[in-house]
Structure formats: structure tokens, C-alpha cells
């Protein structure tokens, strides 16, 4: 047990020695060390969040064939700090008729719903806030608090655009929670546990090879949950302006914006944890805990990059199409996939890993193909029906 394998425990023991040496009772020292740990994690996340603003702006600039921020500091690296200063010195406005307390709580709750997710994220085998045995459900519970924050923001702003944006966003989040929760159960079936550490430990073969369809559905549901394009219902410049956060100015808006970026990064991390082996990378996590953290941060950035890629490539989807897509396609597909996976898991239990993996992979691919084929047939029939209606109405006009 050395510092390189379990740095947190070594640091905690060292601090414990210092605090008890000062005459502090052990229980108080323990609580203080716990608080320091939380403070350290949150501080690191917030600093990361500042740089995520820069990453997001640079990446979107590249996607749109621009340069992005490049004036302040080398490669524009100091730009986010300039942004923060701007946000802080902006006038903090509260719209007339707003519900002040709720209006002020909402941005905090929004940021909090993202930060509490990190309590269950395993950064390394031993670096984890708390290894809950219901980690997967915990994500959904934190998402519920985020939903609440959006509706509070939308309602308390006393603005029709904000309220409409909040309604649309919440409708999307509540709907897409269902396929997401279902897809969280698939790694649970493979690993036999909902705890993230157990899920990662069980991934000798990355789950994306066992369940590619589940990974895709999880990604779609995660993007919808984040409220990013192509599912950015809260925002719509031509219809409801900035959606639920239209009335917020200064750092309160900054909280929503930073929360959204960190949320996207976090879900990139969850993609990595659930389907791409988390902190494991060819035994690198055994060498040092710091390498494990580097691996998971790298995977989270790749997941975040994919989410950005989707956002800046695809156009928005209309809300009725989106809800129909969820309720008529994604949810039934997710439930079918869950049933097929559970059945295959029972049938293939005890067979060699090769047969198990290929069986799971083939069943996933087959199910995905069948679902796409059904959707294609349906859309063809629908198109024929609509076009038939159009031609008949034309003929009556002519006749």
C-alpha cells in the first residue's frame, strides 16, 4: 500500500495524525477530513468546468470552420477567466413579479444536481466518494433534482418564454429518463451489481462489445437528458429565445451554463464507466491510482467530445417528433433489449466468454436491425399514406 496506489487513504491518515496531534477528537477530525475531501473534489471539478468552457468553444469553432477564442493568452486559454470576470461584474437582475426565493434557489439546485453525481463516480479503484450499491439508480435520482431545478427556474422567472421552455425541457427529460434507466440495467445484468466499482471490475471485455445497441440508446437518452442539440427543446432562438434561463443574468446564468457543460462531461464519464471499462485500460490502473484517474478523465473527454460532435452536427428535432421517437421507438426498443439481454444472460450463463460475448453482440445487432427495419417499413407506409392524401386532394382540386 503506497501513496501511488491509494493516495486518498494515505493523505487522510496523515491529516488524521496532524488533527489529533492538535488535540482534536477523532470523530471531529474524521468529519473535517470528509469535508476537506468533498471540498477538494468540488474545487477540482469547478476548475475543470472553467476549462470546459474553453474546450467547448474551441471544439465548436473547429466544427464550424472557425478559430475560436485565440486572443487572450496562448490559444485563448485565459478567455474563460475573462468570461467569469464579465459574468461576476454584470448587473444581477431579478425580473418584476419573480418569486425571489425560488428564483435564486434554482441555479444552485441545477449546479448541485450535477455535482452530486460525482459522489458515485469511481475515479480509481480506491478513489470514489461512496461506493453505493445502487449507483445506477442514483444517477436518475440526481437527474430528478435537475428536472426540478429547471421547472423552478422557468416558473419563478415570471416570463412566458421561460415557462414554455421549462415545460418542454421537463417533458423531454421525464420521457427520456425511461430508456435511460432501462439501459442502466443492462450493465447491471452483466455485472450483477448496480455499484459502479463492481460494474467496472466486471468489465474484462468492454460492455460496448456486449451491448452496442444499449450504448447507443444510452447515449441518445443522455443527450436528451442533458438538453443538448438535437434535443435542445429548452432553447429555440426563433420561438422562445433562451428558454427557462432567459431572465437570469450574470453568474446565475453562469451556473446554468457551467452546470450544463459539466453535466455533459459527467455523462461522457458515465458512458466510459458503463460501456468502456471506466478507469481500466490494459492493467494501467494497477500501476498507479493517478494513471487510473487519467484514463477515466480521458474516456470522459472522449464521451464529451462525441456529445459535442452530435450537438454541432445535427439539426434540432421538433418536440412532437422527439416525444414520438421516444415513446413509440426508443422506449419499446429499450424494453425489448432489456428482456432479450436478460433472457440471453440466463441462456448463456456458464458458457465460455467468447460464446457469451458473441451471443450478446449478435442479439444486439439483430435487435437493432429489426427495429430499424420496422421503423423503415412504418415510415414508408406513412409516407405513402400522406402522399396518397396529397394526390387525391390535388385531383379533387383539378376536377
Amino acid at each position: 500500500m503506497s501513496f501511488w496506489n491509494d493516495p486518498l487513504k494515505i493523505a487522510a491518515d496523515w491529516l488524521m495524525g496532524i488533527f489529533t496531534g492538535w488535540g482534536m477528537p477523532e470523530i471531529a477530525a474524521q468529519i473535517l477530513i470528509g469535508f476537506l475531501g468533498v471540498f477538494l473534489l468540488v474545487a477540482l471539478l469547478m476548475v475543470l468546468d472553467i476549462f470546459l468552457v474553453w474546450v467547448e468553444r474551441k471544439v465548436v469553432a473547429r466544427f464550424q470552420d472557425r478559430l475560436g477564442p485565440n486572443r487572450v493568452g496562448p490559444w485563448g486559454l485565459i478567455q474563460p477567466f475573462a468570461d467569469i470576470i464579465k459574468l461576476i461584474i454584470k448587473e444581477d437582475t431579478t425580473p418584476g413579479g419573480a418569486d425571489k426565493v425560488v428564483y435564486n434557489i434554482a441555479p444552485m439546485l441545477s449546479m448541485m444536481s450535477v455535482l452530486i453525481l460525482w459522489a458515485v463516480v469511481p475515479l480509481a479503484p480506491k478513489i470514489i466518494g461512496v461506493d453505493l450499491n445502487i449507483g445506477a439508480l442514483y444517477i436518475i435520482a440526481a437527474g430528478a433534482i435537475g428536472t426540478l431545478a429547471i421547472i423552478m427556474a422557468g416558473w419563478s422567472s415570471n416570463n412566458k418564454f421561460a415557462l414554455i421552455g421549462a415545460f418542454r425541457q421537463v417533458a423531454v427529460m421525464v420521457s427520456f429518463e425511461i430508456p435511460m434507466l432501462t439501459m442502466l440495467l443492462i450493465p447491471t445484468i452483466f455485472a450483477g451489481s448496480m455499484g459502479f466499482n463492481a460494474i467496472i471490475e466486471a468489465q474484462d471485455i468492454w460492455y460496448v462489445f456486449l451491448a452496442p445497441l444499449a450504448a447507443v440508446i444510452f447515449l441518445i437518452a443522455a443527450i436528451a437528458e442533458l438538453g443538448r442539440a438535437p434535443f435542445d427543446m429548452a432553447e429555440g432562438e426563433s420561438e422562445i429565445v433562451a428558454g427557462f434561463n432567459i431572465e437570469y443574468s450574470g453568474m446565475k446564468f453562469g451556473m446554468f451554463y457551467a452546470g450544463e457543460l459539466l453535466h455533459a462531461f459527467t455523462f461522457g464519464g458515465f458512458m466510459g464507466i458503463l460501456f468502456f471499462g471506466g478507469y481500466r485500460f490494459f492493467g494501467l490502473e494497477q500501476v498507479s491510482a493517478f494513471l487510473a484517474v487519467a484514463v477515466i478523465v480521458f474516456k470522459a473527454f472522449i464521451g464529451y467530445w462525441i456529445i459535442m460532435w452530435v450537438k454541432y452536427t445535427l439539426m434540432r428535432i421538433r418536440i412532437d417528433h422527439m416525444l414520438a421517437f421516444n415513446w413509440k421507438f426508443l422506449t419499446p426498443l429499450a424494453f425489448t433489449l432489456l428482456m432479450v439481454t436478460a433472457l440471453m444472460n440466463a441462456l448463456l450463463a456458464g458458457t465460455s466468454p467468447w460464446i457469451y460475448t458473441s451471443g450478446m453482440f449478435l442479439s444486439n445487432v439483430a435487435l437493432g436491425w429489426i427495429a430499424l427495419e420496422v421503423a423503415r417499413r412504418y415510415s414508408r407506409r406513412e409516407r405513402a399514406r400522406v402522399e396518397g392524401v396529397v394526390t387525391t386532394s390535388r385531383s379533387t382540386l383539378v376536377g
Binding site: 425560488v102 445502487i134 439508480l137 435520482a141 437527474g143 430528478a144 426540478l148 415545460f167
Partner: protein, 175 residues
């Protein structure tokens, strides 16, 4: 007094205070938000009892679904969010009497109960409460029948809701 007791008392105060605010606040949305905080307090109580699964499900189901539904329903149906009428009706004294009697009765009964002074036995290491719960829910010796009955009831409610919302005269909604 141990740390756990202090946290429990604070949680209980928070939950009960939120509960009182639910029925006394005149603004309907505020009442719904206070309800959220009361439900959250209950979730904290579950967490204190080492029932992490129940705590998380409490947040997912009650805050994530039911409270959001309440808020939606209030926002979409009420034009004025403030309640103008009197908050008590003429039977308030009867309700107060009943609640005092129930409280007194419970207090009297629980005074003689030995369970209050006992401490909970510690959970053995390696005890996985969630897999125990899962096995109990589908085991014939335990709760499989209530579980299935509840599932059938929920499906029936779902079909009923779709039937009520579906207008047969408009036929296909795809227009």
C-alpha cells in the same frame, strides 16, 4: 446524544416543518415545493436507516415523477396561483382534537415499548441489502404475490389512463 440522533432530529424537524408549510402556504406552487422538501426529508430518513435503495427510489418516484406531475397540473390548470379563501373550515376543532388524541394515544402506547431504547443490530459485512430485496420480491415464500398484484394494478391503471385520454371520434391522432 450521538451524531446520528442529531441528524435524525434535524431531519425530522425539517420534514415536519416542510409538511406544515405544505398545508399552510397560500401559494400553490410553494406548497408543491415544500412537499418536495418534505419528501426529501423522508428520503434522508431512509438513508439514515441504511435503506439506500428506498431513499433513492423515494427521490426518483416522488420528486422526479409525482411532484413534477403536481407542479405541471397546478401550472396548467390554475390561472391564479394564490389561494384566496379561508384556510380552515368549521370542522377545524374536530380535526385538532382527533390529531391530539392520536398523538396522545401513540405517545402512551410507545412509552411502554422496549424497542425505543434498543439500538439496531449492525449490518454484517458483505450483506447486500439490494440483492436480498430483489430475491424477496420474486421469491414465492416472500412477496411475489403482492409484487405481481401491484404490477397488474399499475398496468390496469396505465391502460385505463390511455383509454380515458383516447378520443375514439378523432380516431387516429396522426394528422
Amino acid at each position: 446524544m450521538t451524531g446520528e440522533q442529531i441528524i435524525f432530529l434535524l431531519t425530522a424537524l425539517f420534514t415536519l416543518g416542510s409538511g406544515v408549510m405544505v398545508v399552510t402556504s397560500r401559494n400553490l406552487i410553494h406548497a408543491a415545493l415544500w412537499l418536495v422538501s418534505a419528501l426529501f426529508g423522508v428520503a434522508v430518513t431512509y438513508a439514515l436507516l441504511d435503506a439506500a435503495f428506498l431513499a433513492v427510489v423515494q427521490v426518483v418516484v416522488y420528486i422526479g415523477a409525482i411532484a413534477i406531475l403536481f407542479i405541471f397540473a397546478v401550472m396548467l390548470t390554475r390561472k391564479d396561483m394564490r389561494d384566496q379563501g379561508p384556510q380552515m373550515n368549521t370542522n377545524w376543532w374536530f380535526g385538532a382534537l382527533l390529531s391530539v388524541l392520536v398523538f396522545g394515544g401513540l405517545f402512551f402506547l410507545l412509552q411502554g415499548w422496549s424497542g425505543l431504547s434498543r439500538t439496531a443490530s449492525p449490518i454484517p459485512p458483505g450483506f447486500d441489502s439490494i440483492s436480498e430485496l430483489g430475491n424477496a420480491l420474486i421469491s414465492p415464500d416472500a412477496y411475489v404475490l403482492p409484487f405481481e398484484v401491484a404490477s397488474v394494478l399499475l398496468v390496469a391503471a396505465l391502460i385505463g389512463a390511455v383509454y380515458v385520454a383516447f378520443n375514439p371520434r378523432s380516431g387516429d391522432t396522426r394528422k
